[in-house]
Symmetry: C2
């Protein structure tokens, strides 16, 4: 993989679900919301966003519906009940994960184990 790629490290799904927490959005709007909400850090290529949304829809965590706005077709997604509870679980999971990683990275000096 390219040197600087793989920036999301497995947390894409939570981010997408979180973007939908406040109400339905279409794919492109989600992409923009994440870019702005992260101060430009998560500027996801469309080849990342759309397949991920399809995956989440297949998993029943979001539900999509087509519409046409200004002559452009859109697929708007909303969180399902499963998606809602999954988001809650993943939020808790993230907090634990982040705390564990931070704990290890910031441990200084490291207690001698061997």
């Amino acid at each position: 993989m390219r040197p600087d790629a793989q920036a999301l490290k497995g947390h894409l799904d939570v981010l997408l679900l979180a973007a939908l927490a406040a109400g339905p959005l279409h794919g492109y709007a989600i992409k923009e919301a994440l870019r702005e909400g992260s101060g430009g850090r998560f500027d996801l290529p469309t080849g990342t966003v759309y397949p991920a949304l399809h995956r989440l829809e297949r998993a029943g965590l979001i539900a999509g519906s087509w519409s046409v706005v200004d002559g452009r077709r859109r697929r708007s997604y909303r969180l399902t009940d499963d998606g809602e509870s999954r988001l809650a679980g993943e939020r808790a999971n993230w907090r634990e994960f982040a705390q564990a990683v931070t704990g290890i990275l910031e441990r200084n000096p490291w207690p001698v184990t061997s």
Copy 2:
């Protein structure tokens, strides 16, 4: 991949480098250090640890040397200078990343973007 797997999500390398920050350790000791340092959350299988160490060594971030202790052969690893600066960079990177993710997950209510 199995449903609950992939727990490390791309952060394995930083964790391994961080475990070596306080001085050389061999693979098994690194595995134990991460398990204890994370309160049991990062209990890595050896099939995860050893290939990752080989990868880091190939990349020149750590350097290994064989020894024999109590009849068991060991490969001890230390951080190289490159590994040291990589660790510093990855630590900073983690802080930014974690802050961005937390910011998005905890944003409530989400500002309407579209």
